[in-house]
């Protein structure tokens, strides 16, 4: 049933547009600075560009090896998220279905992992990874991210599995499916909404992470986008137009992914199980 477009509706819409506009301000500055030549970017960073310099993008792309960094980011984020989903879901399924004291103890252990700041263990972790010759490698950083975000993944999955009716699994067992097949064909597909949540949350955090990549990957050819962008930040002078151009380039994959997947993402967040 359609609603009447009243003055109140108009005011509400204007207010929402205003709030949306506030959100666009950083993007506006990001774009205009990225389009300015070096001198103008330093002299008057907030004005509209007098001339458009698209060369910033190609300079940023070449000087910071953004192509390579983009691949690194994709490999690291993709690898970590896949591991978080694959291991987290199995682990949470076991914890949720096992129940009893052992189940509760394991669950609390993972919750503790969320509460404790990982920075506390950074030095020993670095030392261990170095001994294993994993510093500066894809495997090392993927292992690190997977470990750090596993409690969060297990926490989300466990809550969801606990709410999942056991009948589906019982039906699969009676239908002759092995435990592995029951999980792979019945349980895991039913976890799709929470898998979406885990993928987006951890994916965004890992994609944007600067700190750990700087420590574990700096100086190698495995650096992801945030560290690559940092190339233009100097001790005495920073080339903001190049930095912003690099930021735009690194934002693009995320934006494109969102544009194509937004319907599925929202459905995933709000969906639950439709029987």
């Amino acid at each position: 049933m359609g609603r009447r477009y009243t003055r109140k509706t108009m005011v509400r819409e204007l207010a929402l547009l205003l709030v949306a506009a506030v959100w666009w301000v950083p993007f506006y500055f990001l774009v205009i600075v990225a389009l300015k030549p070096d001198i103008e970017a330093l002299q008057s960073p907030l004005t509209f560009p007098k001339s458009v310099d698209l060369g910033n993008f190609s300079t940023a792309w070449h000087d910071a090896s953004l192509g390579r960094a983009l691949v690194n980011s994709l490999v690291i984020t993709g690898g970590s998220v896949l591991a978080l989903i694959a291991i987290g879901s199995v682990c949470a399924y076991t914890i949720a279905r096992r129940g009893g004291r052992m189940g509760t103890a394991l669950y609390l252990l993972f919750v503790l992992g969320i509460i404790l700041p990982f920075q506390l263990g950074l030095v020993p972790t670095y030392s261990v990874l170095r001994h294993l010759h994993l510093v500066g490698s894809y495997l090392g950083i993927i292992l690190l991210y997977t470990g750090i975000w596993m409690p969060f993944s297990v926490f989300l999955y466990t809550g969801f599995v606990r709410a999942l009716p056991k009948e589906y699994e019982e039906a699969a067992r009676v239908d002759g499916a092995s435990q592995l097949r029951t999980f792979r064909r019945v349980v895991f597909p039913l976890l799709r909404p929470v898998t979406g949540t885990v993928a987006i949350f951890t994916g965004l955090i890992i994609w944007n992470d600067f700190f750990l990549s700087l420590i574990f990957l700096n100086g190698t050819n495995k650096t992801p986008l945030p560290v690559a962008v940092y190339t233009f930040v100097g001790a005495f002078a920073s080339r903001w137009n190049l930095i912003f151009a690099a930021v735009i380039v690194s934002l693009l994959p995320v934006l494109i992914f969102f544009l194509f997947a937004q319907r599925q993402l929202i459905r995933g967040f709000t969906g639950g199980i439709k029987t």
């Binding site: 019982e170 699969a172 067992r173 009676v174 239908d175 039913l190 799709r192 439709k274």
Partner: protein, 399 residues
Amino acid sequence: MATVTFSDVGKTYPDGTRAVADLNLEISDGELVVFVGPSGCGKTTSLRMVAGLEEVTEGELRIGDDVVNELAPQERDIAMVFQNYALYPHMNVFDNIAFPLESQGMRKNEIRERVTTTAKLLGLTEHLKRRPRNLSGGQRQRVAMGRAIVRQPQVFLMDEPLSNLDAKLRVQMRAEITRLQEQLGVTTIFVTHDQVEAMTMGDRIVVMRKGVLQQQGPPELLYDEPANLFVAEFIGSPAMNLLRARLDGDAGELVCTIGRQRLPLPSRVVAARNGLAGYRGQEIAVGIRPEHLLDPRAGDPSLPRLRGEVKFAEALPPERLVYAAIAAPPVVTEDLLEIAKDVDEAAVERLEELADEQFVLACARFDISSEAPPRSTYDFAVVVDRLHFFDLKTGAAIR
């Protein structure tokens, strides 16, 4: 296909709850047995033990010649229809039905053939590509049945599969399941708390209460010769009228005193129940099925009468149910309170309140052609040969 044998089977949970105790039962090959009873009576637990979803803690359970106590559900060659169907929501109808066959590692061609045949049998052919959420309740029910029958198991297990359907569809599906079972000839255990379902579907009914088997046999036997008060009250709709009475009389003839009314029992009635004479001078429970409380204008004029105050009547063609208050103390035992509890807590309160009253609201089943009696005192004809007598302390039928 196979027999299912329970030998002293019991189930005790780790917290000490005894869900099923000493269950002894043999289900023949191709038989449809209905487990019935109020919530918590152990019927679903028994079924789940056959499925392998609950551990058998005592006794021995056999499917065919094999003891299955330690076998996983996958190894038992059984199929189950769940109360909420448990259809896999992310798979379409074809994949749902094909799932058990894929689990067996069957070849794709054969799977397609079997699923198509099953879908045809159940009228699901045009819905094979739809997801369960886009199906009606009846169609989902059929898919669940399809998933069970497609693999041609030894035993079908059905856990209240009709409880989520509306009344009309339930009647239709009831007939459909019975037809399918007869057609396929697979041994079937059907669990329900609806005694009408049990009466209409089962070759044999097993009535359970608090984990203990109360009586088992064909529907007519349970209806006509209930073993105890619990079965008498549970089987039959409307339920059996139960009144407290006293057995008096001398050697030749017994008289049942109900309130201030005397109901003479002919010698043939006493002779048919050897135990009855032993209750002379004692209080017992008398049960009268509604169809044995008749319209005096229509029945045999020689039948003894029982007076009641007509309260209201319900026309339910082809019959008319007449409710009348008969001055007699009601029977309120633990058995009956449990059955009432299954309806709701208010029913329990009502029954407890009634215990203090001195009348029973009895139901009489008239033909619809009989005129509704006036709302005043009325003499009902009683078919004394079909009366039921129970020991008030043990609840057991007096025979």
